[in-house]
Amino acid sequence: MNNSAKVRKKVLAASSKSTIERSWLARIAACPHILWSVLFIIAPLMFVAYFAFTDSAGNFTFENITNLTNYGETFMLSVFFSLIATVVCIIIGYPLAYFIARLKPRKQKLFILLLMLPMWISLLIRTYSLMALLDNGGIISTFLVSLGFEKLSFIGTGGAVILGMVYDYLPYMVLPIYTTISKIDVRCIEAAADLGCNGWQTVKNVVFPLSVPGIISGVTMVFVPSISTFYISQKLGGGAFDLIGDTIERQFQNKLTYHTGAAISLVMMILILISLAVMNRFSDNDGGEIIV
């Protein structure tokens, strides 16, 4: 750590000579993306903010925001489903990531490839294929019927929606956790054994605390898309659940009430930003003295 700090200082010193030319070049290099951001990220965000605080006549109003209390239940349900999906992803993903990280390098690559494979297929197709499994006349149902159970459909249950979220986003949990675990110094793990940790205690006292940053980024990458999804809940929820993503989509697609939709989007964005900030703080502290 000390060394890397020194190296960084040296690099800084060496680069300061040509800083001027480089920053000039760097600015030009950044231009395309800046243009892109302005057109497709910043401008739309301004529109969202504009619609959220205006009525259909274009007058400034807080009404859209205050009306959001009507959607409290939808918010709660979305948070609830996404939280459960995230927790399930951690429970399944962490052991898997740990398992992969402890394999030999060549096998690690194979397993990561297998893990990434579903991500090359469109999310829509993946969700449709889940429907084929869970549906009334679907594979699972047919199988159960052949065993003598009654014909049943899983579509329209909360479980199916959560399953869909887990199924679609699990790789995003495994990858960052795998990366942090595989970067843990082997000697730290040996040191834990040396000081008296058996396998389980090593995981509990050393591997897990050191992989918290991976869990945090995994949580962000699963929770954020889960809470804003509309497709999964529509297809697998069978219309029984109205999640926040569905509500927003409906505002824009069917009702053409941009103002309410924009208000919901804005509030949700702010909520997500706040929760991310809280989590980041949490993970920063963890590098230091949280245990004390």
Partner: protein, 373 residues
């Protein structure tokens, strides 16, 4: 003074990917001993240490601890602690929690832990560092934390794997003294791995010289330096002039065209031998009074002494002397009988040359970056 036998290694072999690393290691380690495994990179010293620590299994052979075979005992159950090469401190814990780690596992009461950590910090001269994050410590300080973290568990044996390798020269010297003091204060057996022969000589009770997966010599630092068993040990430990010679009879050896009196015996008449003469044991005299005679080809000022290279019959000798000689000067060499050490021929006899490539060798050595083997 015979002490209790603590560790016995019996015929240990180990190979990585079919490449033999240890070829039949037999070693006894006694209680309260400071023993150093010394050898060049790749000689198997670290592997030997890791086998004692339980981080590697030997392919064959047995490890005994207090007379009990411990081959199948996992490292967390061995009463042995390790100071790792790059310290391996836990980055998510502060200094206090790093040191307290072992005691926390044993579920000792908080009060006892606090007391013992304090005691350890005092022992390693880090009072008041409890709350510091380990990433803010210098290399030397991290090293001390690593030592404290290991010692707090009251191990019977402390394994140290090139613990000072990453420190600069001055800090290394200070830490050598400190480690030696700690070892004497605590009475814990230290098994120390290094490639630095000076470190080995100055710290150890016993030095084990290894090369190519074998133990070449076990002895006190004095034994190893004064009575090396073969050309490799003589060359690896300190500076030495290695000359081919012939043992004419007991106490008489001929080399460089002169017959010398010596203190060695027990060789066949006219047996070919390797002779070692340490550079500091040669006296410079007037050419006509010398047993050998040569021309000074190179003089280097080293601070305390001069290092001069003398060409004797086209064989370059190194001599360390406080008397100045000019380059090109003709000088005589006088060698006392006890300055001559005669060794049996070995597989290493041909690998060692004279000092003709001395300066290049020096530069080459300073380029080598040691990695663990």
């Amino acid at each position: 003074m015979e002490k209790n036998l603590l560790i016995e290694l019996k015929n240990i072999t180990k190979a990585f990917d079919g490449e033999p690393v240890l070829r039949g290691i037999n070693l006894d380690i006694h209680d309260k001993e400071f023993i150093t495994l010394l050898g060049p990179s790749g000689c198997g010293k670290t592997t030997t240490l890791r086998i004692i620590g339980g981080f590697e299994d030997p392919d064959s052979g047995d490890v005994f601890f207090d007379g009990k075979r411990i081959n199948d005992v996992p490292s967390y159950k061995r009463n042995v602690n390790t100071v790792f090469q790059r310290y391996a401190l836990f980055p998510h814990l502060n200094v206090f929690e790093n040191i307290a780690f072992g005691l926390r596992l044993k579920k000792r009461p908080d009060r006892e832990i606090a007391e013992k950590v304090k005691e350890m910090l005092k022992l390693v001269n880090l009072k008041g560092f409890e709350r510091r994050s380990v990433s803010t410590l210098s290399g030397g300080q991290q090293q001390r934390v690593a030592i404290a973290r290991a010692l707090i568990n009251d191990p019977e044996i402390l394994l140290l794997d090139e613990p000072l390798g990453a420190l600069d020269l001055k800090l290394r010297k200070d830490m050598q003294n400190e480690l030696k003091n700690i070892q004497q204060k605590t009475g814990i057996t230290f098994i120390y791995v290094t490639h630095d022969q000076e470190e080995a000589l100055s710290m150890s009770d016993t030095v084990v010289v290894m090369n190519n997966g074998e133990i070449l010599q076990i002895g006190t630092p004095q034994d190893i330096y004064n009575e090396p068993v073969n050309a490799f040990v003589a060359d690896f430990i300190g500076e030495s002039n290695l000359i081919f010679g012939t043992m004419l009879e007991d106490y008489k050896v001929r080399f460089s065209g002169h017959i010398f009196d010596c203190l060695d015996k027990g060789f066949e008449p006219n047996e070919s031998v390797d002779v070692v003469v340490r550079p500091e044991d040669v006296d410079i005299v007037a050419p006509e009074k010398g047993m050998l005679c040569g021309t000074v080809s190179n003089v280097t000022f080293m601070g305390v002494h001069y290092e001069i290279i003398v060409d004797i019959n086209n064989y370059k000798w190194m001599i360390q002397t406080t008397d100045y000689c000019g380059e090109g000067e003709k000088i005589g060499l006088y060698i006392e009988p006890d300055a001559i050490h005669v060794m049996k021929k070995s597989e290493y006899s041909d690998m060692v040359g004279d000092y003709s490539s001395y300066s290049e060798e020096h530069e080459h050595l300073s380029d080598i970056v040691e990695e663990d083997d």
